[in-house]
């Protein structure tokens, strides 16, 4: 185990692990509701919205000529990606609320539009401009290149998500079990659904920048799905989703270091292994 503590000595490794564990924490708590509400596609949709927002944000940063001034807070494309993901989340929630369309259809529409906008924006950026990040990293993540800026954003999001979910958990769980019963007991179910979408947008926007769009969607779904198979209560499912997310992050990050494999792939494959184990070993 010497090697493990040795690699913890690297600052980039500490940041990568801290970011990964915080993303796992937020995703496990939210993913439980996302999976139980049959919104598994939501993570994908919002992550692609974040991609579109990053594109528009990057184009804005380049256009207003502030890149050479350094990678300061206000020049980060996240300032566009976050509101863009929030608007998308509200848009999906609104379509779900006001029409008979299934959520997957609503998400699919926003998904396609976001990717189109993102690709359009990135295509307008001259190839010789140094954005401070690699566009490919937005898709597949570069958890080992987490800067202090991104880690701070993730930490702030984690505090917001944990505090908010902590205060509405009982009501949100009740409404997830049965919207109508919860409403007869005075739970504002519709409002809570919008809140859930907003929290998901925050988590996805700040995390996707680091872990990549593909891994982001996996984080929201795979640990919660595996946890569901081992749980008889929603609270137990949440706890297990967080535990599975964190453990697979640790294993994945360390494995990627030793095997020189892409971190995102290593984490997703570790999660998938746990999921398969859960399917095979689940209690009857």
């Amino acid at each position: 185990m010497d090697g493990f503590f040795e690699i913890l000595g690297f600052a980039f490794m500490q940041r990568a692990l801290a970011a990964g564990l915080l993303v796992a924490l937020m995703s496990g708590l939210l993913g439980t509701f996302v999976v139980q509400r049959r919104l598994s596609f939501l993570g994908d949709g919002l992550a692609h919205a974040a991609f579109g927002g990053m594109g528009i944000g990057a184009l804005a940063v380049v256009t207003f000529g502030v890149l050479d001034a350094g990678g300061g807070w206000l020049r980060h494309p996240l300032w566009v990606a976050l509101p863009f993901a929030l608007l998308t989340a509200l848009g999906i929630a609104y379509v779900r609320d006001r029409t008979d369309l299934s959520s997957d259809t609503a998400i699919g529409v926003f998904f396609a539009v976001s990717v189109a906008l993102g690709v359009l924006a990135f295509s307008r950026i001259p190839p010789d401009v140094n954005l401070g990040f690699n566009v490919m990293d937005l898709l597949f993540g570069s958890i080992l290149a987490v800067r202090a800026t991104e880690l701070t954003a993730i930490a702030v999001a984690a505090v917001v998500v944990v505090a908010t979910l902590g205060s509405v958990w009982g009501r949100l769980a009740y409404a997830t079990f049965d919207d109508e019963l919860a409403r007869t007991d005075g739970v504002r179910a519709r409002r809570l659904e919008y809140l859930l979408f907003v929290l998901a947008a925050i988590v996805v926007a700040v995390s996707a920048v680091v872990v990549g769009i593909v891994l982001m969607a996996a984080y929201l779904v795979i640990p919660a799905a595996a946890a569901r198979l081992w749980s008889r209560s929603l609270a137990g499912m949440s706890a297990r989703a967080v535990a599975i997310g964190m453990t697979t992050t640790l294993v994945g990050v360390v494995a990627s270091f030793y095997l020189d494999a892409p971190t995102g792939s290593a984490i997703i494959l570790t999660q998938a292994a746990v999921f398969v184990a859960a399917v095979v070993l689940r209690r009857r």
Binding site: Q36, W169, G170, R171, A173, Y174, T176, F177, D178, E180, L181, R183, T184, D185, G186, V187, R228, S231, R232, S233, L234, A235, G236, M237
Partner: protein, 255 residues
């Protein structure tokens, strides 16, 4: 003075359920049309009517789940939706989300807390177990809801409704999926609960014989109110003919 006030109260108690001119439309469809009635506390009301008559809709108006286009409903003088702690609601057995991880005890505790439990405390568990015992379902306590049969689930929902000791029990076809013996137990249980708590019961049912036998008031509904009063007065052939378009099984027999 006090005696006078008490006398007035006795003469006109606050109705357990007050429905005034309730009119509900879904799009173009007029589902409830000017329904009005008062149910005094302590009664056992059976709400009958054909499929699609608006029975569930009426219950949802009383619960504050649906806001009528016209009129209003009140429960013990509170606007619909304002006194959830006084109502125990058993929903019509529907396609319940069987993937939700929960045990019967948690379901019952949600009826105590009006919230979903993160974990169930000792005292809550004892209360929930007593409620499950009352409906003959102690054995289901730690079973996963996903593994319960329709009738078992119905009992768990009934325990959930009664555990908060409501003054008004609203049930939407609670006998669906419950076998004959259990159906007898259900009426027996409700009547005992009613006697113990002085509670009011309002139940949607398709079982006219049960309505005649157990209810103290019957309401015949088919979009409009077609009859409201004593079972022997309301469950007459003419009223049922008007509401159902035919009278019970005689229609079939005549064929």
């Amino acid at each position: 003075m006090v005696a006078a006030r008490a006398a007035t109260r006795a003469a006109s108690p606050v109705p357990a359920l007050h429905v005034h001119d309730v009119t509900v439309r879904f799009g173009d469809a007029l589902v409830l049309d000017g329904v009005r009635f008062d149910l005094d506390p302590g009664h056992f009301l059976a709400i009958v009517g054909p499929n699609g008559a608006g029975k569930s809709t009426l219950v949802k108006v009383a619960l504050g789940l649906i806001t009528p286009q016209r009129g209003h409903a009140a429960i013990f003088g509170h606007d619909a939706g304002d006194a959830p702690e006084r109502i125990g609601y058993v929903p019509q057995l529907k396609t319940f989300d069987r993937t939700f991880p929960a045990t019967a005890v948690e379901l019952v505790v949600s009826g105590i807390r009006r919230n979903w439990p993160v974990r169930v405390g000792q005292a809550e568990r004892a209360r929930a177990m007593a409620a499950l015992g009352d409906v003959g379902a102690e054995a289901l306590a730690d079973r996963s809801l996903a593994r319960l049969s329709g009738g078992e689930l119905q009992r768990a929902f009934l325990a959930r409704a009664l555990v908060r000791e409501p003054d008004l029990v609203l049930l939407d076809e609670p006998a669906t999926g419950v076998d004959f013996l259990a159906e007898h137990d259900l009426y027996d249980l409700l009547e005992r609960y009613q006697a113990r708590r002085g509670a009011t019961v309002a139940m949607v049912t398709h079982d006219l014989a049960a309505a005649r036998f157990h209810a103290s008031r019957v309401l015949v509904l088919n979009r409009r109110l077609h009859g409201y009063g004593l079972p022997e007065d309301v469950l007459c052939d003419a009223c049922l003919q008007e509401a159902f378009g035919h009278v019970g099984h005689r229609h079939a027999v005549a064929l």
